[in-house]
Symmetry: C2
C-alpha cells in the first residue's frame, strides 16, 4: 500500500476512535453537543492523535490506553481553533472551507463550545485514568497534556502571538510563540504515546526533543505554504498572516532560509526517532507533514 492510501486509512481509523468520545446525547443543551460535533468533524489532519498513536506503537504500547488521550488532545486542539477564530481573536469566517463554529452557531456559542471542548477533554482523561490498568502512568499523561496546553504551553504562546503587532518581530519571540502555540501540543502528543507505552523517562525526553523539532518544522512549512500555496489547496485565505500584519518565519528569514531550516529540523528529528527505528510509518508521516504542499 502506498503512503497516501495508508495515511488516509489510518486517519479514518483515528476519526472512528475519537468520534466515540463526542457527545451523542439528546438534552436541553443540544446546541453545544451539535457545535462540538461540528467543530471536531469539519476535519483536520488528526496530526496530534496520529503522532500519539504511532509513538505508542513504536514503543509497543497497548493501543486501548491511548484512544481517550488521542480524543482529548484533538478536543484541546479543536477548542484552540474555535477560540482563535472568534471575532475578538483572528476573526475568521472560514476554516478548512467550512464556516467557523461561531459563524455557524453564533458568537456566544463559539465561546461556550471552546470551553465545553476543553473541559470535555479533561472529563475524557479523568474517566480514562480511573479505568486505566496503570493509573500512575495515565495520570502522568494527563499531567503532560495539561502542562503543554496551558499558560506555560499553548495558551502562553497564543498570548504572545495576540500581542505581536509588527512584521518586524525578533526571531526569539517568534520561536517562543511557535514552540508554545504549535510545538507544545505536538510534544504532548508524542510524549503521551511514549508515556502510555511505559517508555522510560529518558526515552520520553528524547521523544519530546524530536517532537519539538517536528512542531517547529511543521510551523515553518505552514508559513512557507501561506505565501506559496493557492487558497484552494490550503482551504483558507492565502496570506492570512500577512493580512493580520504578523511576523512569520518567511517575513523574517525569507523563503530559502526557511526551506533550509525545515530540512535541518526534519533531519534532526529523524535522527532521534531513528534510534528507535521500529515504526516506518511514523518516519514517513513526519517527512510527509514537514514537506507537505497543503
Amino acid at each position: 500500500m502506498d503512503f497516501i492510501t495508508e495515511l488516509s486509512e489510518r486517519t479514518e481509523y483515528i476519526n472512528n476512535e475519537i468520534y466515540k468520545y463526542l457527545p451523542n446525547q439528546e438534552g436541553r443543551q443540544k446546541t453545544i453537543f451539535e457545535a462540538i460535533n461540528y467543530s471536531v468533524k469539519i476535519g483536520g489532519k488528526r496530526l496530534r492523535p496520529m503522532l500519539m498513536l504511532e509513538t505508542c506503537r513504536m514503543f509497543n504500547g497497548e493501543e486501548n490506553e491511548v484512544y481517550p488521550f488521542m480524543a482529548a488532545l484533538e478536543m484541546i486542539h479543536t477548542y484552540s481553533l474555535v477560540h482563535d477564530d472568534l471575532p475578538a481573536m483572528d476573526n475568521d469566517d472560514y476554516r478548512r472551507g467550512n464556516l467557523t463554529t461561531h459563524k455557524k452557531f453564533g458568537h456566544a456559542m463559539g465561546v461556550l463550545c471552546g470551553d465545553g471542548l476543553l473541559n470535555l477533554a479533561y472529563e475524557t482523561m479523568a474517566k480514562a485514568i480511573l479505568e486505566s490498568g496503570n493509573i500512575q502512568v495515565a495520570a502522568k499523561a494527563f499531567e503532560v497534556i495539561s502542562k503543554k496546553a496551558g499558560v506555560y504551553g499553548m495558551v502562553g504562546g497564543q498570548v504572545v502571538d495576540i500581542e505581536m503587532t509588527s512584521h518586524k518581530e525578533d526571531i526569539d519571540t517568534l520561536n517562543f510563540i511557535n514552540e508554545l502555540k504549535t510545538g507544545a501540543l505536538v510534544e504532548a502528543a508524542m510524549m503521551c504515546g511514549a508515556i502510555l507505552a511505559n517508555a522510560s523517562d529518558e526515552q520520553v525526553e528524547n521523544i519530546e526533543r524530536a517532537a519539538s523539532k517536528i512542531g517547529l518544522a511543521f510551523q515553518i512549512q505552514d508559513d512557507i505554504l501561506d505565501v506559496t500555496s493557492t487558497s484552494k489547496e490550503l482551504g483558507k485565505p492565502v496570506l492570512s498572516d500577512e493580512k493580520n500584519n504578523k511576523a512569520t518565519y518567511v517575513t523574517i528569514l525569507g523563503i530559502e532560509k526557511c526551506k533550509e531550516k525545515v530540512k535541518e529540523l526534519s533531519d534532526e528529528a529523524a535522527q532521534i526517532l531513528g534510534e528507535y527505528n521500529t515504526n516506518e510509518f511514523l518516519h514517513e508521516l513526519v517527512m510527509f507533514l514537514i514537506n507537505r504542499k497543503q
Copy 2:
C-alpha cells in the same frame, strides 16, 4: 468569636492557600499571568473552596489533600465569570465593583484568560494527583470536578441560559439552568471535600443531594436580592437579569413563594448535613449563604 469574624478569618485563610497556586513567574506571556491574578483576586465569597474545606473537615479529612482542589475549583468558577462577562455573552463592564477582566486587559485577553484559568485548574489537579497519598481518591475528585464543570454540568447550564430569551420560561427550564450553572460546582465542591476525606459512596451521594439544595437556594436568594437589594450592597447593577430580559425565580414564582422555597431547601439541606452534625461552622455557613443580604 462571632460567625462574621470567623467567616472573615477563614476566607482570608482560604485566599492565602489558593493564591499559592496562581502563576507568579516572569515570562513573555506575563499579561495572562497578570490577568489570571487579577480575575481571581478581585474577590468573591470563596463559597466553593470554603464548602469543600468544611466538608472535608466534617469527615475528618487531611486538609493538605484539598488545597489544590480548592484552588482548582475557584479557578474554574473564575474562568466561568470571565467568559460570562465577555461582550459575546452578558457584556458586563463591572464585577464586584471592579472592571471585568476583558475591560481591563482587552477582549482577546478575556478569552485567553478564561482558557488559561480553566486549563490551570486541571494542571493544578494533575500535579495534586501525582503527589497525592491516595492517587485513586484524588483521581476520583478530579473526575467529579470535570463532570460538574462541563457540558453535562456548568457549561451545559450556561448554554441553555444563553438561549433563554423570554421572561416567560417554564420552571423546568429554569431549574435545569440553575442546577447546572450554579448547582453543579457547589455539588462538586462538597463532593470533593467528602471524597478527599475518604467518605463512603453513600455519604458522597448524600452530600451531593444536600449541595444541590444549597446551590438552588443560593440561586433563588440571588434572584431575590437582584430585585430587593441596592446596587451598592450587591456590587453590580440591580435588575441586571431584568435588563437582559431573562426569566428568574422571582419573575416566575414571585418574591413570597421564592422566600418560602429558600426556607424549604435550606431546611432539607440542614437535615441531611445534620446526620453528620460534626461541623457547626458549616451549618452556620450554609444558613448564612442562603439568608444573606448581599
